[in-house]
Symmetry: C2
Subunit: 340 residues, 2 copies
């Protein structure tokens, strides 16, 4: 094998794909949170000038991709593949955006793990020398997710303390075989883990075992210690799920607490913004990575991070049928290393 | 580049991935159709011993994967990645199966194009030397699709003449870097094409332009003529969509009619089985390929085919909002060639 397979689930890239540029566009609430200054664009109206929230979410994807490509000093026609997805049934946000963008398209669904799923497959395409320029993207929208997964917003239902707040936002990452920027050196692809959690208002608890499993597998496969990382950051476990993941990892012998965070915990000020257990949605880890984390990497405040987007693979139908919430997490190592 | 990129959308593999084995499991109606003898298993009850149709569809996926792996004389633990998806919201059929199978998992959504989407990405993973054994799978189920996309079955609504019948079935393809079997030599990845069709009862018409675009691009990128193929077979255009695709290709200067077919046209006897415009669903091209076409390849009745699964990237929500039906098609060349 020319590319180093480490253990059963991890790939170490021979020619780590370079993050040439990113773009992050968020909603008004995210724009009032602690990471506001890192986002490229904050929209004032959740409809973003469109007729429906779903169309607004699609426009977020389209604009994030266009912005990342422009920042990479490229044209849309230079991009060989687009990989991405969102939370909406049949991925309409991403598919309708792909229709406008006219880039050969692979649709992905990993629930809120989609950002690292798309980064993983995009990296495989580039390191495998199948393309030089690939865009990875994902999005979510509070209003589209609420009415699809929970209740119509007009219903005004009360939220459980463990409930999370779906982030309105889209992120896009332009990966390249050449150029300058932080690089993706390793990916660890998750298995679907089902601990039998059935409470759709406590997704953090459902996803924590998947996050812990993927992180433990990553550490085992690579031989890295938690402190080899400046930051291990999960997607959207929220404050309860994060604690569960740290506990599960401690039981496996991994002390991660001092380098561990969660994008859902970072994006809102939960006390002031009434977001309960924290942010969630595909867009959560997407915009935290494309906005805040990439800034920290470029400014050398962080030099090696493990991004672990986490997805709950259930649907309202499976929940109504009494099904549990199987979950998945994919890990991606992003590093500042000397450029080829 | 070590792997030959042909044109903008086509890859020619250096070490074409080998189809080590396939499995196809179908419902009772498919088991009464003209391809019955080619399917590995015909289930008698659409519930397949489960409590809901959704759980039955998930079991179809699980069993198809298990059967393909057993036939390849391997264990589940030997399979490095599973790629697949289905039509259900949030891919619950495939995700719940992946939870049982415990193979590192990438969830895909390309609507009914998912079989060739999964074959494309699985081939990239193998030819790129990231893995030696990968499973690609997809499914659909008449009863789960009807109630999700159209009406509850109990409603007994009348079907439009252009309506298609969602296939109940799952297919799984075990790809390998070594061994014997037909190989995947080329893939052409589609762009999302939107001709403005808004009639969700005429998906064939919506998807035909995407099929024609991908086939024309494939012929241009590779330099192949239609007659270089023994068969060019689309996923589920049905009888109306098939004629539109042939017409669109003729206008582009490609005479494909004498080598052209459609999986949705082949799987049912439309007159006797009252399936109107033909079969559809992710499972349609999956089981026609994994059952009938692979048999024809192995028996040298066909030696080179282009499988072009076709997907309509809409949702009930986008249709209710007056949206059109953007579509996509991915093409995969499967050939009998001398084995490495």
């Amino acid at each position: 094998m020319r590319t180093k397979k480490m253990g059963n689930q991890t790939i170490k890239f021979k020619n780590p794909p370079i993050i040439l540029s990113t773009a992050s566009i968020v909603g008004a609430k995210e724009g009032e949170g602690p990471l506001a200054k890192y986002f490229d664009k904050i929209i004032e109206d959740d409809l973003y000038g469109e007729e429906s929230w779903e169309k607004a979410e699609s426009k977020l994807v389209e604009d994030a991709v266009r912005l990342a490509v422009t920042r990479g000093e490229l044209q849309l026609a230079d991009i060989e593949y687009m990989l991405g997805g969102d939370l909406l049934n049949q991925l309409i946000a991403t598919s309708f955006a792909a229709s406008k963008l006219q880039i050969p398209f692979f649709g992905l669904y990993g629930a809120c793990s989609t950002m690292t799923e798309s980064l993983s497959l995009a990296s495989i395409i580039i390191d495998g020398e199948f393309a030089n320029k690939v865009i990875a993207t994902t999005s979510s929208h509070f209003a589209t997710a609420e009415r699809q997964f929970r209740f119509p917003l007009e219903h005004g239902n009360q939220r459980a303390p463990t409930a999370q707040w779906t982030v309105t936002g889209a992120g896009a990452v332009l990966l390249s075989s050449t150029g300058e920027g932080p690089v993706i050196t390793h990916i660890t692809t998750g298995k679907v883990i089902d601990f039998g959690v059935v409470d759709a208002n406590n997704m953090g608890a459902a996803m924590a075992p998947a996050a812990a499993d993927t992180i433990a597998t990553h550490l085992k496969d690579t031989g890295f210690k938690p402190n080899d990382y400046d930051l291990i950051i999960t997607g959207d476990l929220g404050k309860y799920g994060k604690e569960i993941a740290i506990d599960l990892l401690r039981k496996e012998g991994h002390k991660v607490k001092n380098v561990f965070s969660d994008c859902g915990n970072e994006i809102f000020d939960h006390e002031k913004q009434d977001t309960h257990a924290g942010g969630s949605g595909c867009g959560c880890s997407a915009v935290v990575f494309c906005g805040y984390l990439i800034d920290q990497l470029k400014n050398k405040k962080l030099n090696k991070i493990l991004l672990v987007s986490t997805g709950a693979l259930f649907s309202p139908t499976s929940s109504q049928q009494g099904g549990s919430i199987p979950s998945i997490a994919h890990a991606v190592t992003i590093e500042n290393v000397s450029i080829k």
